[in-house]
Symmetry: C2
Subunit: 411 residues, 2 copies
Amino acid sequence: MNIKNVLVAQSGGPTSAINASLAGVLKATIDSEEYTTCYGAINGILGVLSEKYLDLTKKAAEDAEFINLLTHTPAMYLGSCRYKLPDYKDDDSSYVFIFSQFKKLNIGAFFYIGGNDSMDTVLKLSNYAKEIGSDIRIIGVPKTIDNDLCRTDHTPGFGSAAKYIASSVLEIAHDTFIYAVKSVTIVEIMGRDAGWLTAAAALARNDYSSAPHLIYLPEAPFDKESFLSDVRAELSKRNNVIIAVSEGIRDKDGNYITSSKAMADTFGHQQLSGAGKALEFLIKENIDVKVRSVEVNVLQRCAAHMASKTDLDESFAQGEKAVALSVKGETGCMVVLNRLSNAPYEVEYSHARISEIANEAKSVPREWINEEGNDITSELIDYLKPLIEGEVVLSYKSGLPVYLDISHLNH
Amino acid sequence: MNIKNVLVAQSGGPTSAINASLAGVLKATIDSEEYTTCYGAINGILGVLSEKYLDLTKKAAEDAEFINLLTHTPAMYLGSCRYKLPDYKDDDSSYVFIFSQFKKLNIGAFFYIGGNDSMDTVLKLSNYAKEIGSDIRIIGVPKTIDNDLCRTDHTPGFGSAAKYIASSVLEIAHDTFIYAVKSVTIVEIMGRDAGWLTAAAALARNDYSSAPHLIYLPEAPFDKESFLSDVRAELSKRNNVIIAVSEGIRDKDGNYITSSKAMADTFGHQQLSGAGKALEFLIKENIDVKVRSVEVNVLQRCAAHMASKTDLDESFAQGEKAVALSVKGETGCMVVLNRLSNAPYEVEYSHARISEIANEAKSVPREWINEEGNDITSELIDYLKPLIEGEVVLSYKSGLPVYLDISHLNH
């Protein structure tokens, strides 16, 4: 048998679980009879183009704690990139170089862990491999806190972000309820096009707190007058109103509700901020009440200390699954999860064609949002609940979580 | 012996440790031979003025987990207020009412847990007690994430906030280092007048990360040109520069650093920015680099899931100490901590006259900030380090931390 190596890279925005998938790829490679070394490319596909690699198999051999620590370290251990490959029909030079690297490193399978944009890279590389008759397996491993990848029940990283959001909203409720004066607190949550993460704020509700009292997602058109009327109605019922709002809410004509200038990134996305601020000002101008907006910061995607055990376990298993798929000869696909049942929660691991996933996005179904567009339905809560279950146990040193040394990224 | 009851209330802004002090007062009351019932006033001194009380001794008797859960629940279990008593020489009506309440409830000691403003209430009530010849003990228990109370080494709530800030900056470093492009990330931290909490960001530094690379506190005058020069120097050394800045930084004339640059939102409003945004704009206008500012939100004062065990233990013990002081006949004082040693870390519990504490504030000594005013010294790090040591173990239910039911505040 011709023993090959594997190459893995990470791309797109950080999550608390993306290294768990990397750890899964590494563990499965080490355990396999088909592969020897697991190489990691630094900064995504750019690392292949610039020949920057780490020997992960060696790292794991040198440190018995490496795979465990990697599983619990937030953001990308291998670094990331936001780089879109050109169409190879227009310019195949980078493809030629990438596949020469694959040959040089004796690569049998390439795993790319990322979101929609990264799956575009998987699609292009697998199409090119087919074109040139290469038998190198090109497989995507999903990752995104946005939970907007098609053909899979939910994405690695989402459950941990959802747990962070729900616990944050619960703690903000404790923070807010202390004053016996009328107030409105707006919590702005990440999600440019999909409201999944904002919806997770609803998991903060419990026996003693119904916060968030209003939830606005990008999937339901936002109306200024309805919003003010919703807020007034809630203020008539209680002192402290807490509102969860997605950064990507927009009006019926599709215009973002935002207070900052739109800028475009490499992929043409608009960089948003300020939906929360916009609503804060709207309330200030129309309702005589104390109002504050809170922009949940980047910790919603990298607070590994609040990771969901369910999420990390599934992310690790999806990394392992990718290796198993490659051994079976699969290529041009992404690992997916199919949910078999909500209660008891059960999923199965499978795969889907990458062409059905790349550059597509999955929104919250309109029927999982209430008719008024200011809350979510119980079906969505049932869907979300299992994903935040379970806590991870981190090591601490000098009062802080112990994560893996990332000095190789500290350029 | 004339068995009395005690009354306790909480005031000012939330911390993760203020309920630990309340739990300490409750536990010591239950354990004492001098007192029977521990009453809590709802919403600080306003709860006394409006006769809103909870019987905490009864709560503890009904639920064996009550004191433990209380210790770990963020913000004020009894609610808070921001209310300044008038001078009793001008208007003694509220004093007359408060002391009639004390008599009605057979109160022997009143404990007020709070920061500078709350200690003003302790001072005024104890002066009035002296004036009318009352033997009711009036004792302050400190609390503030700002760590700016005089006569005590550090304040309950600060260690937990410091731990949250340090771990957040570490996780933000992981989040930031993933891209191999030059970037500046500004983290704005609470602290209008004192830089203690911003200084705690320095604890994020470890073997593989020197972030935050620059630290600016309100105690050192901020100069725009020096700042830009600092940032350029750091960018010449590394790709990703992380800056910790206090919300209260000001120039040599004492003017706060805010941006006049207006941002128009969807509804045509203009908004003024905080220190972080101001520095973001300053860099954008002067240095060609990707820049982002992160305002650490209210979780820095209520993220009980990241509490410092040292802080909670000390906060609990300071609540107990307040009860012990009252039994000894002390009044008109606040519980304080004296540090005996940094390593091994050792403190002793004592008390100081409330007149030396109320309405005073403790700043970071200038000699604990480096000469350039862009970092802190090793003395300050040695002071901070022990305060974030130790982790708390919370119970979780459905993936979220279990805190005490606060429906009595949910008006």
